[in-house]
Symmetry: C2
Subunit: 197 residues, 2 copies
């Protein structure tokens, strides 16, 4: 295959992300489950819109690129609920690495290296770009659940401490958004949408 | 409302794009209709992947930004099928301008100006960035239809000349992709997926 054929094969393969469903629901569409492709769009835009709250210098274009590809591995590995058991998260990490090899491996070599490296950077969350990207990926479901009477939190009986732990990157990378998250989880507790602990 | 509240209001409002359905279908998800949010994700990544075929210098980050927002106006204006009548396209353009005012108007002033200007640039398609963005938005449904036994072309009895006219930006902005489009439409005609004229 020439490069264009490889790129088009990848473009068609990732169509499958539209069939990977998450725990969050789309309020405006009869509360059907959200899929990871539309989530990826939403989160890329969210990062652009909220970039001014980053406490450290970030390259927003790299952040957007990371977020556009961050869930592609779910085509093979599936979506794991954020508040699943630790052992499930460990198994998931292995599945995702294998998925990254296969899926990005459809691309020409240079793009394969670029995307795989970017995805590993996102997963490791050691750079400011990755930390900001990851924190956007975590604050958006909170915003959606708050707008949807607790949404997936209620269904899965989630605790306030779990949501705070999951959003704790914000404390460092975007303190103003961290304050917002704290106040929203307090409100969720008082509404009975999160369990106080 | 402060800026963060305005930004979050916009982020929640655009959730509605996940409920705007297009003519293209998602082959891997029982051929259900594709929505404009997941399409926006797909097209933003397609532009990044195919940027090397741009004949002129483009700023891929602006292209991606355009593509992430290009369909938001459909929340108010709906999606019009690409091969609808000209008078319907004229009416649609008016609806979309109004939609851009209302939707981007939810954002703080500076972001409102930035996004509205970017959307107008996309629509006008006079810059290389906008032409490349627009041509990506048009080549992707072709790739999807070719992978789906003609998809929406067959359903709506579309002619080869219509698909070529719709993809004609490529002739100028990405000649190698234009050649690909011609060969694919020839193949579609011989498969009975497009009408020869």
């Amino acid at each position: 295959m020439n490069d264009l054929e490889k790129q088009l094969a990848f473009i068609l393969e990732i169509d499958k992300l539209k069939a990977v469903y998450r725990q969050t629901t789309v309020k405006e569409d009869k509360n059907r489950s959200e899929n990871s492709a539309e989530h990826s769009w939403h989160i890329a835009l969210t990062a652009q819109l909220l970039q001014e709250y980053a406490e450290y210098s970030i390259d927003i274009n790299r952040v957007v690129k990371m977020l556009l590809i961050h869930d592609i591995i779910e085509i093979d590995a599936g979506d794991l609920f954020a508040f699943a058991e630790t052992k499930d998260h460990d198994l998931q990490a292995l599945k995702e690495e294998k998925a990254a090899q296969r899926l990005f491996g459809l691309l020409p070599k240079q793009q394969y290296n670029e995307y795989k490296t970017l995805w590993f950077e996102f997963e490791a969350a050691e750079t400011h770009d990755a930390q900001f990207a990851k924190s956007m990926d975590r604050i958006l479901p909170l915003v959606q659940n708050m707008n949807n009477q607790g949404g997936s939190w209620v269904k899965h009986k989630v605790k306030q401490s779990q949501v705070l732990a999951r959003n704790s990157y914000l404390q460092f990378i975007a303190p103003k958004l961290w304050e917002y998250v704290i106040s929203q989880t307090d409100l969720a507790v008082s509404n009975g949408w999160l369990i106080k602990d």
